[in-house]
Symmetry: C2
Subunit: 531 residues, 2 copies
């Protein structure tokens, strides 16, 4: 494990915002030396008696870690939904229980979970998280800290307020998660978008923007905070590899930038998509959980020898969005400030959720949780394969090499209509490219670019108008997808408002995914017929 001692000489405290500095240290801090003193009677806090918590225990039937296969469906993916549909009711479970007053001191304790004072999380959960960070993320310095938060939207909101003064700018990808920007805008914090390629943010473009920064022309000093979604990039589905991360990290050292790594899809990394016919008849043997972990692109935390990365993890995609539970991985200095930020807003994450998740994870143990994540990654791989297979059934997909922009050098799938029986009535030529995409390599989304330059009314309708016209028609036909404009970091990025859609394959049942592609296909073909 990479365990260089963090270069303590580097003081990053000048990155703390005025907002963060004004936050008081915990009122309990001065009292800390008295806590844990045996026999201490605390009449200091406004804490109800645990006897008044109206649950003697909570619990549930938890799925077993190997509920989902780790072998992809191969050519069978388009049939496997049938099995999955009926398999759903056959969940294999084990009961877990969290008593209010457990008999053993080390057990997870509902009385503690439901009381005040857990802004750093239940001890058992904290321990699990710390071990997980150490084993899986392998931080580049030894005193790396963790801190529980209530999901990555909260995590980013707290990190941004801790790092940014009102009116400052942040670096983002050209296309990004809209809520992250919506959190910033009230403080007048806007995005400086960096051009992307198939690995997400480009390092050469990042260096260019920073090297050529013109404070006067930009109206703000050079950004010192980056917000990035390096894996399952939202909306593009790109995955940033180790080399790119190292390049970006080094640039951030050079220009003194704090990296906030929002990584909710980290464990949903997939192998490259192969057309159905190219996938093995008997798909490759399942890889082991160790191989699964080893193949994951490392996180920024691994390259971080200075403590300039704040990583955001969430259980939203691996357990449930309603968990509202996640954690920061960062230096102790940032962790302390983020804790103060939480104490004056959300306080601790919900104790019902914390205790159920802590009990689940400590019952599954590290190996069980990794097995669960491996099964999920396989599920998403099957879903992606099935979803793109559906497009291949509806459209003629031509494999080309992207020539310019974000997809330069990528294998791009260009979709044109398949010849139909009534070809004579079709107003477009059979070869008309309607849209293109690069199959995602992680996450939940297919990001498609419409080829509206081939639309008959392109000369009279701007592309953003066509985007919303087509989007509305698809919604009216019964399929809701996300319009592309919504993910543009701002209106100045190349291709902003030029016809994109983000389509999620994460939630719908397989038959619905198939039906949705059929509807999308029909509406899109009709749309391209219009004059």
């Amino acid at each position: 494990m990479a365990q260089e001692k963090r270069e303590k000489a580097i003081d990053l405290s000048h990155h703390l915002s005025e907002l963060s500095k004004a936050r008081q240290t915990s009122p309990l801090k001065g009292l800390a030396k008295f806590f844990g003193q045996p026999g201490l009677i605390s009449l200091a806090g406004g804490m109800p008696s645990e006897a008044y918590f109206p649950f003697a225990n909570i619990g549930g039937d938890a799925l077993i870690p190997d509920s989902f296969a780790v072998k992809t469906a191969g050519q069978e993916s388009s049939l496997s939904w049938f099995w999955k549909l009926f398999g759903k009711t056959k969940e294999r479970t084990n009961p877990i229980v969290i008593p209010k007053f457990p008999s053993k001191p080390d057990e997870i304790n509902l009385a503690t979970a439901l009381q005040y004072g857990t802004s750093t999380g239940l001890p058992q959960l904290q321990k699990f998280i710390d071990e997980f960070i150490e084993k899986v993320y392998q931080p580049g310095y030894s005193d790396c800290a963790s801190l529980i938060q209530t999901g990555n939207t909260d995590g980013w909101s707290r990190a941004m307020q801790t790092l940014c003064n009102p009116g400052e700018l942040i670096l983002t990808e050209d296309w990004t998660y809209p809520s992250a920007l919506a959190s910033c805008r009230p403080l007048g914090v806007d995005a400086v978008p960096i051009a992307m390629d198939k690995e997400g943010m480009r390092s050469d473009e990042l260096r260019k923007v920073l090297a050529e920064w013109d404070e006067k022309a930009r109206g703000a000093k050079r950004p010192h905070v980056m917000y990035t979604i390096p894996v399952g990039q939202n909306p593009s589905g790109a995955t940033m590899g180790a080399e790119r991360k190292k390049e970006i990290y080094d640039i951030c050292v050079e220009y003194d930038i704090i990296i906030v790594e929002d990584d909710p899809y980290f464990f949903l990394q997939m192998s490259e998509y192969k057309p159905k016919s190219a996938r093995d008849m008997q798909s490759a043997p399942a890889e082991s959980d160790v191989q699964f972990l080893a193949k994951l692109a490392p996180t920024f935390v691994k390259f971080d020898y200075q403590g300039r990365v704040i990583r955001l993890d969430t259980f939203s995609k691996y357990i449930a969005p309603g968990s509202r539970l996640g954690f920061f991985t960062c230096s102790p200095m940032f962790s302390e400030r983020l804790q103060r930020q939480g104490e004056t807003s959300t306080q601790a994450p919900c104790g019902f959720g914390q205790s159920l998740i802590a009990q689940l994870l400590t019952t599954w143990k590290f190996n069980g949780y990794v097995r669960w994540l491996h099964g999920l990654a396989t599920q998403y791989t099957d879903r992606r394969d099935f979803f793109i297979d559906c497009f291949a059934e509806e459209f003629h997909l031509q494999l080309t090499t992207g020539e310019r922009g974000a997809w330069a050098g990528c294998t791009v799938y260009a979709a044109s209509p398949k010849p139909r029986g009534d070809a004579m009535s079709e107003k477009y030529s059979v070869g008309t490219k309607m849209f293109s995409f690069v199959p995602p390599t992680s996450g939940m989304f297919l990001w498609i670019k419409m080829n509206f330059e081939n639309h008959p009314s392109i000369k009279s309708d701007p592309e953003e108008t066509l985007e919303m016209k087509l989007w509305t028609k698809i919604a009216e036909a019964g399929v809701l997808i996300a319009p592309g404009w919504y993910f543009a970091a701002n209106e100045d990025i190349p291709d902003a408002g030029r016809g994109h859609f983000r389509i999620s394959f994460s939630n719908a049942e397989y038959p619905d995914l198939k039906k949705a592609v059929q509807i999308f296909s029909k509406v899109t073909r009709e749309f391209f017929e219009q004059q």
Copy 2:
């Protein structure tokens, strides 16, 4: 029920802060017309499949609503801990279960609770809350709204950011909840403290501050937001009655002030404390739940005919602090802005907590929940009585009428040492007043004022030094209480730093409460002996 139509002509939207205005409306708002369309396939959000949530169900053993008696212990309070101590293990419970996929559509659904999209709360919970508001708080206008939040610290933080621009001032009580002020400080929002009496904030003082506001001298325009804790006032334990609330509301109409009513202790209202000997041998018959509700001081919401009250409720004191669940009661305009604020920070409260609490409340039903609250209020009354009885055992408590300041006209209990066998060795006279208090009429706290003017070293030690010296000695002797300076709205209020302690009687077991008072007594007497 008071149901005047809100005077729509009054536009309070100028109270929305610049921070709040910059928050985008929900991205889903534009798509709203498509939601609920039968058969719609949504591929728009980044939602995991519910099949991947690793719980087939959750649940627990819930206490029954009448777990606690509604008849106070009367003269038996000091003995009743013995029964309570052993009664604790005899919790009477009923099981509740929330299946991931329930068979009936109206049942609380774990799949829904754990998915994205519940920023307005689970429908069943929302319905319960709306009915509760209507029946219990009886809002003064008909389109009063509710919105779920993650506890009152979050609630206040969101309300403050929605209402205050950086650098503005807010009205508070002289003594108040420190975290509420800590939330404000990063935005440069400071408190304008208003003097208090036994009902909390004084209306005459409020009017005086507003009428005499000198923008130039104060360096800020007149405040337009009030933060108040009207019941179980923290730290003073005061309860604001209907008349005072009406007076303050009318002043707020006159000066166009938004009232944020932070009311976590509302249902912990108690009758006046009576010394043990004055309590009935056979205590009064238990009152009915209807009588219990009828006797509660009404909330500001009842007087609100303009929609200028934002009420904060939390389940922290009635279910558990770890619930991290509460709700706003306010006008639809404020509710909409507060929702946007939540969407870019905490999103929804935890789904595990929401579903367990919703299932609990809908199982108990309205009457059951009121019975539970009634039982809790009785428990706190017994705790208060027992706690003050302990002081009466240790000290000579003299009933006097307060002459000035916050306690003018109140029945004040002045504590002096009881004569001991070794009176000759005592360095203080038997009549030395050491501290005074007004027994709280709601909430969790006893607020005591030290009479350090009678301390032998008062001439060399300032009172704030004596406060922390005594506090430290008490902590070292094994009892943690809260030092008074921590609750002062700022250093300019009368009596700030002049020797106060807030002591909580809400959490400790009865024997520990008794032991704590004995330790407090011993240390305080020794402290007053020092030269």
